[in-house]
Each structure stands twice: as structure tokens, then as C-alpha cells.
Symmetry: C2
């Protein structure tokens, strides 16, 4: 399977020097096409996350009876080879979901709002990567390693919406939750270092193009973002709300409360876009109800599913976006007692995760796997 | 004056769209060469900060009787034109300071440790940009806008060491101090986004080189840093201490206490290197003893010397490293009530400052100006 849109440069996506869950080879012949398996649809298949849905389904040998690739009219007719079969992208319409059991949506909030309920009506389970339904009461907002209980009652054959959390939330909570379960997080101060991929494949292309332009002494092309991104960083482009937070930051605040089912947890976030391709980093300061020392925290995180600890102080080796790019696991390091808090009631940690993979497509596919 | 070593690419250092203190033109003929003025020396003149010392001296029409350009043996003999006169770089030695009133040092801690005391012995006031003497009792650690009182008793003709704080500390405290003076900061959680320039001109060159290599599909050259920097970020390269903080982070903790003369202020920091050329950004979460609402904070910051407020929520215009590059002022924005704290006892702010200029050379020259 080839992605026509996403830059897949080697050094944008390099270098495992430690164990990180490695996607299985894409060249193995799959046996995932099975008559007894669910029928799938991928909505927004030509986008960065849409493409990654296909990669992750294949990497994880997700079983399916059929798979339908859906996109806008503009992309209809494009061909993809997926697991040795050729598929033609179909234009999304209200009949698209007639015979679909599970639909993975990543085509933006307005498409989800329009077509999600149509799919549900037809008995389809929609796993939606947009923010459209995340905060709607009754819609499960799920990170499978964190709150699998939220999926209770959702099953194939019964139309339902399930929301995939925002990428920053997923990556943060993959690391924070195991500590929260042990010592209860009272307050979390998060500063993000977010990759281009969160704004889609076109933003990744613009970062690459701008970087070339700047190195050639040209004025950078600003289509996706209104300012220079190459060799720069800026406050996240999401709209700013009356309280001064931007929408990206408020997702971290609100989604954490919903996922942890804890309306009292205090979260503040500052979300910043940095010139990195496809993995987010987050500096997370934690305040706990119960004492938790850094060694115990490190042991808890080493055992946490989907988390890898990279915390080698002697060689100054800690998580980086590049090292987690194209990897499933969220990496955590810089685990240390927060000296600005009393006793062992505070920790600082630094987390990195692939925005497209665990921050979006992988998490959605893992949700779908819970239906099998 | 030409810098032989620092990339001065237009789009690395672009774009004033708002008022920021603009250096006066470098093409004006200076009258700063005056027989009644102090004699100067610049130690480490070929480095990024050394070059900026010259720019800032010139931009500010710093008066001097003579100026001596000092560097290592390797750079001795290099010629620079400074304010219409040609100077030859001399090799630093123990007699270099025989007739020098004020010496600006930026040649690394070991050079400062060796030659700083020699200069002081000869009656020279040393303004040292290294970390060598910052935490030494009795050595003033000075940000002129913040703690000018620390300079009491320091004068030309009487040998003395004065330490320039670390770049991250200066940039953070330029914004935090006016708020601290009004409402007393109890605790500060800082996450940094640090530019290449903090590791010197060679690191800036390596970032540019690596970026070219990555775009050409080549393996990036890693001489200054042990890992890929282009399109990546990583925990600051300073050594990690037994408490898990790196030295850069502990500078923020300890220097803040010394500069504010407040041994109780609680600070925690996570210092991250991002692929930006010459200006640092910092996400700063503040907890205050007294309530301070965001509107009052904004007004205080608008009036603070050396600070410019860029906080336009409607157009999503906030400080960026690029916008403050080559500028004197530290820019602050994203000023908002921290919703994770009670009442008006918390604020989040986002600060950007030119690392080479206010983070190093400008601050040192401002200290020297206090001697005039």
C-alpha cells in the first residue's frame, strides 16, 4: 500500500535503538480477509490518519469480510492496493454504510456530524477520530488501555458512536493513567510540543516545503498555517476561547475528566506546534493525592501496556518524537520527583507518542478490536 | 561587521509585525569611540555570543576608549571591522586585561574560571556569561530590569565579577518578575522550547546542515549533538544530576532564587531543545500568594521595561521565536487565568526571547551600562 500524500522520508521516521512495539512487516501475506469477520469502512481514507488506518489494520491482521474505502468526491476513483487486493475509493454518501459493521472515521468533524448518525442508524459501529462527539454524554470516549469499561454494551450489529480522544489526550493519559490509578492525580500541568501531522498530511507537506524554501533563502509558503513553521514554533492554531485557552488545550482538560470519570481532576495545558513531522511530545507535571516516589512510578510505567520507559540519565537518552515515529508504544522518560512539591506528591515526566498512530489510527483500531 | 560563523539567513531571523525594540541601524557612523570612556575587552569574540556583544555594543552606542577582541590561539589573527575600525583578534593570555576596565566574557566556564580572577586582580569588572560564578556567594547575578540593586558597590576601577544569568532564566524572569513583584510567585512550573544557539554557533550550523541532509535523504551529521536534531526535539543536552533534573533545569531553579533573593520560591523546569535557530520559548505556569487577574497581569506586563505583550486571541497571534529573533524585548502572551488553580491565584503565560541577545549579549551589555 502506497500513500500518495504523506512524506515518508526515512529521517522523518527513523531509528529504533530501544525496544518499541514494532509494526509487523507490511510484506507478509495477510489472512485477514475472512467471510465470518466484520465488514469495514474507512472514511477519509486519503488523509494522513485514513492511510494509517489501513497500515494499522494490516499490521495487526485485523480480520474483515470486506473493506470499503470512502472519501470525498475529489478523491473518488483513486486506487489503493491493500493486502494484495485493489480497491477503488468511493465517494461517501448516505448509502455508504448499508452493509458495514464497523466504520473508522477521520474526515473532520463536519463529515462525522453528517454521516456518523446515518451510519449508526444503519446499525454500524462508528469509531470517530474527530472531536464531533467526544464530549456528548453517552458516547464512550475510549483509550483501550485506560478505560476499556467505557465500551460496555457496544457491540457489532448495534449502531453506536464511539469517540477516539484527541491525540494529545491519548498520549498524555497513556503515561499519566497508570500513575493516576496508583496515587490519584489531583492536578496536571501540561505543555505540548505538537507535530505537523496533527494538522493533516498537507501540513506535513507544508513544513517540508517551507523548510526547503527557507534553506534556499526564499519566502516560505504559508497555506495551512498563517505564519512560518520551518525553524519556528507557535501557539496551537485551534481557535482561542473566551477563557484564553485554545480548543486543543480544553480538549486535554475536558477529555481527561471524561476518560478518568473524574470531574474534579484539575488540568491546565499550553499547546504549542513545533516543526516536527509526526510525533507529539508533552511535558507533564503531576500532583498526587497519595505519595508516589519516582522509582515506584518508573516500575509502574515499565509494566503499563502500550508504554515504554526510556529514562537513561547517564547517557542522556530520553524519549524523542523521532524515536517513537511509526511506533505503537508511547514512550515516557525524565521521570523525577518534582522538587517544587512537598514530599513525594509530585512528579515531572516527559512523554512522546506517534500522533498518527497511537494518537489516532492505532487507538481507533484498538477500539474496533474490542468489538471482535 | 560580518559574522563568519553564524547563519544569518533572513528567514531564520525575520519579521517584525508588531512593535519590538528594534536595534538601531548598523550602518550609522558611531561616535562611541571616546577618550574619556572605559576600555573594553570581549573574550570569546568569535562565538555566537561574542559576535552579538559587538552588535549590541554598536547598536546601543556603548562608549569606549578602546576595545580588545580576545579569543583562543586558533582564532588569533582574525580580523573584524567594528564601527569603521579594523581590529585583529588577540590570543587571550594573563596580560590581556592589564589596561581593561570592563571585560565581557563568553568563552565557556573553564576560560572564565581561569581568566576571570586574573582580570579582576588587574582591576577589571568582568561581566561573565558562563555559569562559572553565577551561584558563588558575593557575585552579583543580574538582570538589570529585575534586580539592579545587586550591582550596588560594583564600579569601574575596582575589580569585580558580575554574572550574567542563564538564557532561560533571563527570558523567564523578564516576564515573571513584574508579576512576582505584584502578587508574589510561590511556585513556577516551566517547560522550555530552546533554540540551537544556546549550544553555540556550531550547533546552529549543525541544525542547518542536518536539515539539508534530511531533506536530501541523507543520514544527518551528528557532531555537536549525539542524535538527530532536524525535525526532532530532545531533552536538553546538559548533564543529568542525581535528582533527575539536568543542569539547565537546575539553573532555572537556583538562579531564580538568587535573583529574586527568595530562597523559598518553588520552581520546577523541564528543558527541551527544539529545532529553532536563535530564540527560546517557555511555557510558564505561575502560582501566586495574592490574587492577580489576567487583565491586571497584562497591564503590568505592558508597562514592564524590556517586555512586549503579544496576546491577540482573535487573530491567534502570540509570541514566536522567529518574531523575537534579533530583537531586544522579551515577548509574552497566552496570558490567562489558570483554570486548574483556585480563584485568581494562578496564571499561564508563554514567553519568547532572543537567546543570543537578551538571553546573553544584550543583558551583559546592559550590566556594563550600569557601570557608566
Amino acid at each position: 500500500m502506497q500513500s500518495p500524500t504523506i512524506p515518508h522520508h526515512h529521517h522523518f521516521t527513523t531509528t529504533p535503538t530501544i525496544r518499541l512495539t514494532k509494526p509487523t512487516s507490511r510484506f507478509t501475506v495477510r489472512m485477514a480477509l475472512r467471510p465470518d469477520a466484520p465488514s469495514l469502512a474507512v472514511v477519509g481514507v486519503t488523509g494522513a490518519v485514513g492511510q494509517e488506518f489501513l497500515s494499522v489494520l494490516s499490521d495487526r491482521s485485523f480480520p474483515y469480510k470486506s473493506i470499503k474505502l470512502l472519501a470525498s468526491k475529489r478523491s473518488a476513483g483513486k486506487k489503493y492496493t491493500f493486502e494484495d487486493n485493489e480497491y477503488v475509493v468511493e465517494e461517501l454518501n448516505k448509502d455508504s454504510f448499508d452493509d458495514v459493521d464497523i466504520a473508522l472515521f477521520s474526515a473532520g468533524g463536519s463529515i462525522s456530524k453528517e454521516y456518523g448518525p446515518i451510519a449508526v442508524e444503519k446499525g454500524c459501529v462508528v469509531v470517530d477520530n474527530s472531536s464531533a462527539f467526544r464530549m456528548v454524554e453517552g458516547v464512550p470516549l475510549v483509550i483501550p488501555e485506560v478505560n476499556p469499561e467505557a465500551m460496555t454494551g457496544v457491540r457489532i450489529g448495534k449502531g453506536a458512536l464511539v469517540a477516539n480522544p484527541n491525540c494529545s489526550t491519548i498520549i498524555c493519559l497513556m503515561a499519566a493513567t497508570p500513575l493516576h490509578k496508583r496515587a490519584k492525580v489531583l492536578r496536571m500541568v501540561v505543555s505540548t510540543y505538537q507535530a505537523a501531522s496533527g494538522a493533516g498530511a498537507a501540513a506535513m507537506e507544508e513544513l517540508e516545503l517551507q523548510t526547503r524554501e527557507v534553506l534556499e533563502g526564499k519566502r516560505p509558503t504559508c497555506n495551512i498555517f498563517k505564519q512560518q513553521y520551518a525553524f519556528n514554533l507557535f501557539s496551537h492554531n485551534a481557535p482561542v476561547l473566551p477563557n484564553g485557552y485554545n480548543e486543543e488545550e480544553m480538549k486535554l482538560v475536558k477529555e481527561t475528566r471524561k476518560i478518568w470519570n473524574d470531574k474534579d481532576v484539575k488540568v491546565t495545558a499550553t499547546c504549542i506546534r513545533v516543526p516536527v513531522m509526526r510525533a507529539h511530545a508533552e511535558s507533564v507535571n503531576l500532583q498526587f493525592a497519595s505519595p508516589l516516589d519516582e522509582n515506584e512510578a518508573r516500575e509502574i510505567l515499565k509494566k503499563a501496556p502500550g508504554v515504554v520507559v526510556i529514562d537513561d540519565r547517564a547517557s542522556n537518552h530520553f524519549p524523542t518524537p523521532l524515536e517513537v515515529s511509526n511506533k505503537d508504544d508511547v514512550a515516557v522518560g525524565r521521570i523525577r520527583r518534582d522538587e517544587s512539591q512537598d514530599g513525594n506528591h509530585g512528579l515531572d515526566i516527559f512523554v512522546c507518542g506517534d500522533q498518527i498512530r497511537k494518537g489516532a489510527a492505532l487507538n481507533a483500531v484498538q477500539i474496533a478490536e474490542m468489538l471482535l
